[in-house]
């Protein structure tokens, strides 16, 4: 059945909503929200319809020629395979829940129509990344995601911290994207094509075609993912991006933007997994280090959203590590389940903040579970899924990643140990959050008067809670594996035992330390280390002292050159000398007829002297 128009409709509906809101309904809050929510939910339904009618498997494409320059032909095309279609469902499904929730959360904000326009633009950009069938188109949508995330993070731009955070996110992403662009150029220069299908066929027939550039190409492409997926050392933007409205955090940090990096790695996995390439090893270790660093930092954060932010960075590290050990299927599996439960956790946190008048410090909460039962219970379910407690969804996906570190050609016991360690930390900091904020007695007045959020906000929580709990039984990895290859997992029993043990240890530690605690007992026990964790390992300070200082120095020099050499000597010099000569010549213009006549006669005499006198 020919349904080629459906993916186009899915892609452009959110854009139409964004354009419609910006052009026509900026004054109408209700209509704007309905347009935006309607667009994404329609996209979701159409996506389900497409899969139901066409099946999930078999790569199909639909494209129109866009650019034809010399030997380069770029299509504006959509690639429809298991990877992109499932990702499309995640983006529109989880995104749809977040849209609905936003309507409740942003009810009192005067900028609501603008908010929904940005949200729709973001959805459009993200769908473009997911559906793109070539590097150039993917890169354009990649940048569009950067722009729309800038707009969303800086939504409350009158707050300086939010404006700074949006700038930071955008610039940090740009650094990664620069490498990504170089990688795209390198691929085009050596292989002569940007089309994913053609590149894959080319590399399959001759894996050594990139020669010595194999590793470089892989790493440059990874640079893009490093920026978007907030991997060390470009992870600094993500926690700051919490300055945006909470639903934005859920959208950007759970289901979409940060997932784009991992999605990209899986999409171009054929380019990374080549004989003679060391790109995967680097990717695995960067992912592992990111996971560990972020999990450690999360231990000592007091801001509920920052804990979740570092948890996101940590889980993204997990996924990147999974790609690095040549296991893209578990990576995408974890991405999927993570999208469900992390969106749930963020929205739950937003619901709590909404009730507590935006008090973000967990030590000023307490007992939220008893006053906000729906939020509390769904948050607890999300936490269990994140920690990997069976039979919640996170257990299955995380377990596959841990098993993948011990399987295949890229196995690494060190990464296995790291992954298990991070699993312990994850359980520990998440239950620290739950015990301190949700259980026990209220610690501050705000928490005592908290009331459950309206249905518009709790309904998305309930909807997201369902896949968070049961997605493990949905045969998701099988669907991905059809395209990305079945991982041959060894030592699955060991991995499962380790991950269960990690949950147990983390939980026991958290209960022992935080059960009934008034202040954080870990700060005293860890001493100097706690201080470092609290300051996020001084990454911001380090960048301030090195990158930003160097940049400022360069800017100062450039400013001096501009001010003194270009504007001073060159522009003002020309202007000044002209003026000086003019002033001198003006003295001759006395307006006195006698002197004119005398000078004329003198001139004639001089000319005559030279003409006749010699």
């Amino acid at each position: 059945m020919n349904l080629e128009f459906l993916p186009w409709l899915i892609l452009f509906l959110p854009l139409a909503a964004a354009a419609g809101i910006t052009l026509f309904t900026l004054r109408d809050r209700e209509l704007s929200a309905r347009l935006s929510i309607g667009a994404i939910l329609t996209s979701f339904v159409l996506g389900v319809l497409f899969i139901a009618l066409n099946g999930l498997h078999g790569a199909r494409e639909t494209s129109v020629t866009w650019l034809h320059v010399g030997g380069l032909q770029v299509d504006f095309g959509l690639r429809l395979d298991a990877l992109s279609l499932l990702m499309l469902l995640i983006v529109t499904g989880v995104g749809g829940a977040i849209h609905v929730y936003s309507k409740g959360y942003m009810r009192e904000d005067p900028g609501q129509p603008r908010y929904f326009a940005c949200l729709s633009l973001f959805t459009f950009s993200m769908l473009g990344i997911v559906l793109a069938n070539n590097f150039l188109m993917l890169f354009i949508f990649w940048e569009l995601v950067g722009v729309s995330s800038y707009l969303l993070i800086g939504f409350w731009f009158e707050k300086p911290s939010a404006a700074d955070a949006s700038k930071k996110a955008f610039l940090t992403n740009r650094i990664g994207d620069f490498g990504f662009l170089l990688g795209i150029l390198l691929v085009w220069a050596t292989l002569g094509s940007l089309h994913f299908g053609k590149l894959e066929a080319l590399l399959k027939s001759d894996p050594a075609v990139l020669g010595t550039l194999t590793t470089v190409a892989g790493l440059l492409i990874f640079c893009g993912a490093m920026g978007k997926s907030a991997q060390f050392p470009l992870h600094v933007w993500l926690p700051d991006a919490m300055e945006g409205p909470t639903p934005v955090s859920a959208l950007i940090h759970a289901a979409t933007m940060v997932a784009a990096g991992v999605y990209l790695l899986c999409r171009v996995f054929f380019l990374l997994d080549l004989p003679g390439s060391h790109a995967l090893d680097v990717i695995a270790w960067i992912g592992g280090v990111t996971a560990l660093l972020a999990a450690l930092i999360a231990l000592q954060q007091d801001d509920i959203k920052r804990i979740l932010a570092y948890s996101t960075v940590s889980q993204l590290g997990y996924m990147v590590m999974a790609v690095g050990v040549a296991a893209p299927t578990p990576a995408m599996y974890h991405l999927t389940t993570h999208a469900f439960f992390k969106a749930l956790l963020f929205l739950g946190a937003g619901s709590v903040l909404h009730a507590l008048h935006h008090e973000q410090n967990i030590w000023k909460m307490g007992g939220v579970l008893w006053r906000m039962p729906v939020t509390g219970v769904t948050f607890l379910l999300g936490t269990l899924a994140l920690c990997g407690v069976p039979p919640f969804s996170g257990f299955f996906s995380k377990d596959e990643i841990i098993a993948a570190t011990l399987s295949g050609a890229h196995r690494s016991p060190a990464l296995f140990a790291l992954a298990v360690g991070v699993a312990v930390l994850t359980t520990f900091y998440m239950f620290r959050l739950v015990i301190v904020a949700f259980l026990g007695m209220p610690r501050a007045g705000g928490a005592e008067q908290a009331k459950e959020s309206p249905l518009l906000m709790t309904l998305p929580l309930l909807v997201l809670a369902i896949p968070s709990v049961v997605a493990g039984f949905w045969q998701i990895p099988q669907a991905y594996a059809e395209q990305l290859g079945h991982p041959h997992l060894e030592h699955t029993a060991l991995a499962m035992a380790a991950s269960l043990g990690a949950v147990g240890v983390g939980l026991a530690l958290a209960i022992a330390l935080y059960g009934g605690a008034k202040a954080d007992p870990l700060s005293e026990k860890l001493g100097q280390l706690a201080e470092a964790l609290r300051h996020r390992f001084y990454f911001d300070e380090l960048y301030q002292a090195t990158v930003i200082r160097a940049h400022d120095l360069l800017a100062t020099v450039a400013d001096l050159v501009d001010r003194w050499v270009i504007a001073g000597v060159m522009v003002r010099g020309v202007h000044g000398s002209t003026e000086l000569v003019g002033r001198a010549l003006r003295l001759a213009q006395s307006g006195n007829l006698h002197s004119y006549a005398f000078l004329l006669a003198l001139g004639v005499v001089v000319v005559l002297y030279f003409v006749l006198g010699k």
Binding site: G591, H594, A597, F598, A601
Partner: protein, 101 residues
């Protein structure tokens, strides 16, 4: 005494210098104007003298042109001077310096 070309030329030069001197030193526009005419006529004298002594009529034709143009010029020039005098009640060059920067 035999009067030759040199005599005419000397008179012509003298007249020209007198005219130039008048232009340079006199203050009244009308007198400056008369001095200019003197310079023109010095040139006319030289041209006529050359014409006479070289047996060539070209010089005399040139003189006719100069006299004609000078007559037109006098008409315009005098009209300007009169207009200037009416407007500013002066014909002294020291007072007429508005074109200076």
């Amino acid at each position: 005494m035999n009067v030759g070309l040199e005599h005419y030329l000397v008179v012509s030069v003298l007249l020209f210098c007198l005219g130039l001197l008048g232009v340079i030193v006199r203050r009244n526009l009308l007198v400056i104007y008369m001095s200019l005419e003197l310079m023109l006529n010095a040139a006319n004298l030289a041209l006529v003298a050359f014409s006479r002594f070289n047996n060539n009529l070209n010089g005399q034709v040139m003189v006719f042109f100069i006299i004609t143009v000078a007559a037109a010029e006098v008409a315009v020039g005098l009209a300007l001077i009169v207009a200037l005098y009416r407007k500013h009640r002066t014909a002294h060059v020291e007072d007429l310096t508005w074109l200076r920067l």
